[in-house]
Amino acid sequence: MKPEGKKRIWAEYQKEIPDDHFFYVRSCIRQTFFAGSEQVFLKILRNDLGKDVFEDPRHTTCTGIGYHGDVVPFETIQAVVARHFSLATEAGYRHIAISCVTSFGIYTEILETWKHFPETLERTREDLYKATGRTFEVPETISHTSDIIYKFRDEIARKAKYNLADITTGKPLKVVEHIGCHYSKMFPKYGVGGAEFPHVLVGMVESWGGDVIDYPERRHCCGFGFRQYLVQANRGYSLFASRKKFESMEPYQPDMIIANCPGCTMFMDRWQYTINEIDGITYGVNGQGIPVLTYEEVAGLILGYDPWELGLQYHNVQSIPLLRRMGIKADPARRFLAKDGTRLPEPANLING
């Protein structure tokens, strides 16, 4: 492997990521399954980095799942996205920060469509106006939240209390990075580092002291795929795709997977349980499973946030051995306690539970 070759490609795919004043849109999947992740993003940006992030409670789903599931037409989804832009315009924000890769893909697809077919933009303006009486400005930049963390990765590293290394040996952790397909595979120019060798997560891992693994199925889809997942009988495809990735990364014995897509995080985490149930196989170091973390969770960990506040206990593959390796103290007693001291429900069948 020649690192300079990758650097050459990364240099070709640099996008404009604004410095401040973001209009934040949430992810349906993430705020349901990894709510701590969304929360910590806001905390890091606002508290650690002192940025202005605006959130409008009136923003809705982008309807991407319905769009990819063939139940929402393109005109409709354009109008929904236009409404989000309208909310941003109303609040005076020009930079959108999107937490979801599906939404990010939808936004980029719509922006590209408007660029190449200006009449669709006009049509959308008309549709939105007729439906809601709203008008909007096309935002100046579209950033995925991982782009933003990427931009501030070195600043985060400077503030870090831990790094991605084994505390006893000092060796960097072996990290698998996984990009959501819709992050850059549709429009490589919107992703940091492009589609073939995306840099967005690699940059974070390297800044934070980890080693990135480049394994043969790195580019492969996690298997989510809306139609695969939505129809129960098709989930075998989804499962098969995830297993293919796990098997390909297995020889490297990775310590963790870092992903920037809510769907990928969710499926690569949950399918480890399902594969264990069906095939009896658990991947990872000592067969302890491979924890799948979002980039905000990783950022949160190294900045010293409490793992239970990040919501790591709600991953199917538990990170306790990983935390131990990184030297992060996590009080097992507080694992399933809410802030007010009430006991949270304890998930069954956790790996490393």
Partner: protein, 344 residues
């Protein structure tokens, strides 16, 4: 010819330029051969052996070198032709890099082609993975007499990927470069002869064995040299934990995806319009085809005509061709030039 000999400038000292210059000089014209590199010779300088008869490239090189040793020929190297302009009255002025101008009675454009830059097919990892090389790199290995991996070990399996930068909308090249298929077959045989225990796989979309004895070479590669052919375009390459390349392709004949480990992956890079030639065309107002090569006056019977008086095309600046066709094309350009000069 009477009086002072007429002057022809040949832009480009590759196969076509050398042949054209030689032919013109032989006929008594004064020729100035402008070459951008250190020496005339073009891409042939890098090549080890030629298809389909596998004769050493050196033999053709020395033929061409002899061709341009003539008192009528003056050679300007490390110089490109930047602009060509016809002036009413019959003079063609030529701007050379470095600011000098030349005047001539006619100009033959033989700026040739450039090999596709394999970096542009990012998914193949050229410049990233240690053992991804191009067909030209492989010729270099042949010249050095040893085919080896980056760590100097002997490869056990080599894959040759056809149509890299050809017939590929994604890199804006819809054209076929014509010579890569047979080059792959030739190189496959050469590797087998150097490393008899090395398995060879050619990944092709179509086998375009258009020239005489090409198909025979293809058959020989299967029958005698046990070269394997898999029909399918490689979609991506990566490396595994042993730093062996892993490629993904659809075996379109089986109708199933296929995964294979390789020690070396050779990209059969295609032909594109040469950059200096493209600039020249832009500055001089030469028309270019949808394949970005120079568009000739008539595809059937005016294949050396430029559309500009006094300017003629020779060789691969008009389209991908093999050496045989390039030499013929250059001779035809000379014939057109002479016809033009005599008719004035």
């Amino acid at each position: 010819m009477k009086g002072t000999p007429k002057h022809v400038i040949v832009a480009g000292g590759g196969v076509a330029g050398m042949e054209a210059a030689g032919s013109l000089a032989e006929m008594g014209y004064r020729v100035t051969l402008v070459e951008k590199g250190e020496d005339p010779g073009g891409h042939l300088l890098q090549w080890h052996a030629l298809f389909p008869d596998r004769r050493p490239a050196d033999e053709v090189r020395s033929y061409l070198r002899k061709r341009i040793v003539h008192h009528n020929i003056s050679i300007i190297t490390r110089t490109t032709v930047e602009k060509i302009k016809y002036h009413p009255g019959g003079t063609v002025s030529v701007n050379l890099s470095g600011g000098t101008d030349e005047k001539a009675d006619a100009v033959i454009v033989a700026t040739g082609f450039q090999l596709f830059d394999a970096h542009r097919k990012e998914e193949y990892g050229y410049g990233i993975y240690d053992n991804v090389i191009t067909s030209a790199d492989l010729e270099g290995m042949f010249n050095r007499g040893r085919v080896a991996k980056a760590d100097n070990s002997v490869p056990a399996r080599i894959g040759l990927i056809h149509c890299v930068g050809s017939r590929d909308e994604k890199v804006n090249n819809n054209h076929c470069s014509k010579v890569c298929c047979v080059t792959a077959v030739k190189q496959a045989i050469e590797i087998r002869e150097m490393l008899p225990s090395c398995e060879i796989f050619c990944f092709y979309m179509d086998m375009r064995m258009y020239g005489p004895y090409y198909e025979e070479l293809y058959r020989e590669s299967q029958e005698i040299h046990n070269v394997n052919f898999i029909r399918g375009k490689v979609s991506e390459a990566s490396v595994n934990i042993n730093n062996r390349l892993v490629i993904k392709v659809e075996d379109t004949l089986a109708g199933r995806p296929l995964k294979m480990e390789l020690d070396i992956m050779v990209l059969m890079v295609g032909m594109e319009m040469e950059e200096a030639g493209a600039k020249l065309a832009e500055a001089s107002g030469f028309k270019r085809g949808i394949n970005r090569f120079l568009e000739t006056g008539d595809h059937h019977y005016g294949n050396n005509l430029s559309g500009v008086r006094g300017v003629f095309y020779a060789g691969t600046c008009t389209a991908p061709m093999n050496i045989t066709d390039t030499i013929s094309h250059a001779r035809a350009a000379v014939a057109e030039t002479v016809r033009y000069l005599d008719g004035r």
